[in-house]
Point group: C2
Amino acid sequence: MATRMKDIANDLGLSVVTISKVLRNHPDVGEETRERVLRRVKELNYQPNILARSLVTGRSYLVGLVVPDLLHPFFAEVAKALSTAIQSKGYSLIVSSSEEDPELEQREIRQLQARRLDAMVIASTRTGIADFDQLQKEEVFVLIDRDLPGLAANYIGIDDEAAGRIATKHLIDIGCRRIAHIRGRENSTGVRRFDGYRKTLIANGLEYRDEYVIARSRVDTQSLEQGAEAMRLLLHRNPRPDGVFCYNDPLAIGAIRSIMDAGLRIPEDIALIGCGNLHYDDCLRVPLSSIDQHSQQIGQRAAELVLSLIEAKQRPLPRSYILNPELVVRASTRRL
Amino acid sequence: MATRMKDIANDLGLSVVTISKVLRNHPDVGEETRERVLRRVKELNYQPNILARSLVTGRSYLVGLVVPDLLHPFFAEVAKALSTAIQSKGYSLIVSSSEEDPELEQREIRQLQARRLDAMVIASTRTGIADFDQLQKEEVFVLIDRDLPGLAANYIGIDDEAAGRIATKHLIDIGCRRIAHIRGRENSTGVRRFDGYRKTLIANGLEYRDEYVIARSRVDTQSLEQGAEAMRLLLHRNPRPDGVFCYNDPLAIGAIRSIMDAGLRIPEDIALIGCGNLHYDDCLRVPLSSIDQHSQQIGQRAAELVLSLIEAKQRPLPRSYILNPELVVRASTRRL
DNA sequence: TTGAAAGCGCTACCAA
DNA sequence: TTGGTAGCGCTTTCAA
């Protein structure tokens, strides 16, 4: 078995309490005693049992992250930033993948609750707020990326309607007149980016047409294939769109393939813009214009918020932190 | 505070032990009692405190994963597969990023040890085996991707020398004669892929030349930039290489940029192959030939191995599980 | 079938 | 400055 405080106490003829104090840098311990303890701790390579400590203090120094897909670069980036930020404060990160399945998400959240995490960060895959009231009562939790309107919760994300506006306006600015949209699901990001798209068309005197909007259910997990398929449908619209705003970058990458397979040019025949600004957008067959979502900042802010909430004496009212999306222009919309 | 077993016991006039038995499906509880308990558990949305349970049973149902970089698609894929596989058995995954820093890795491992994880999966960033003996004694742990020769540990990864051989042989087969290598660091993957490269040159009657091998220290974290820079150096060699094997795909992507910036064609002037077979290799400016590392299988196998070791009565001797790397040919080496 | 007692490894509190 | 006692929420053991 692993060494315990009791073992060290016995070795040195001290009490467990004294050992505990030394390890927590409690002031009232004699200098000589402290040194003896620390020496023995080092010799035995002793590690205090955090489980036992947590049981007493009620703090687990554990933060949970629940995302739809760990592999999606956006969430991977959030995870990395979050992990780095909390690690330096002695916290560890438990990750959990909901696979875009609300039921699985619910089970994972319950499982994590049983672990008595100090906080949870969730990019929820659900569209309604049912069942979230349990969380709300006790836990420190923060929603990221996807908002759940109606739920009084902390939220960090970009202004998704603005993202839709900026992307669509950019396409208009470079001369597109028949602008299509491969949209996201019925969650806040999908709906708001679509709203931004539609409103911008109208505000700029362009017609909104249903047949220029493609909705697919698996846009988050099967993005490449779904993007290619959606684009193939759009290519058969008459007249053919001359610009496409895609809900996310992987969809756009799939769309690139379909456009090129059809022998058309990007951006001359069809201009294309995505959302997410993934690392490798620059290296694609056609470097992809995109809207930056500040994934790293979201992770970092989530960490700061969560840590401050944990330390807080009383829970402040939930707030939303909305970051501004940013246009990144690359070849896929760069017309001469 | 959260509900406890004691609360339920008091409510129903039962003892804590009975509640505990019901929750663990212990057989000797009366049917009626069981139902009453379950009903109350549901009403209160009770979650047993895993911390407390772990303290008694010595099992935390927690698995740790320590990787150099969570953002690297290879490790993200491993993380996802691992997480999915253990989640279904009631385990959770704690992730930790070592940022390619051996000291940070050591601190993270210690931190995780204090949490009494049931097992740890490590893609170690160190080149020697110092300090690993502590781990060895008590913990269930599995190395992935990067082997530490000399350490009697479970290991799962591909045959990296074979990866180097296959990539180099492929370049030879398509007609390259001056084959360069942008190599990895001094860990098992870097060394072995390089060995495979060198041996294959010699075995095929080609000269091995030091100036065709570029070593950079930040190939794992700054891959794109490092790859571009290394390629620029190679372009100035005389005679210029006509084929390049890159330690990983991101390096190769950086290399693509330098080659095209120099006005050269891929693969006609210079053929290029990477390693990793990342998801988006297909969608790059020049679709990239690569060596598949079976990241998902590695994560899955790691999960299986770790779970079996946790359950095992006595610890079996450590084993290595070596997967066969696979050539994936794309445009970057497809010559007519 | 049920439950009382002991204890997992630690910290909080208060007395010496 | 040091340590005894109690207890965190649970499981294990064994007696009723």
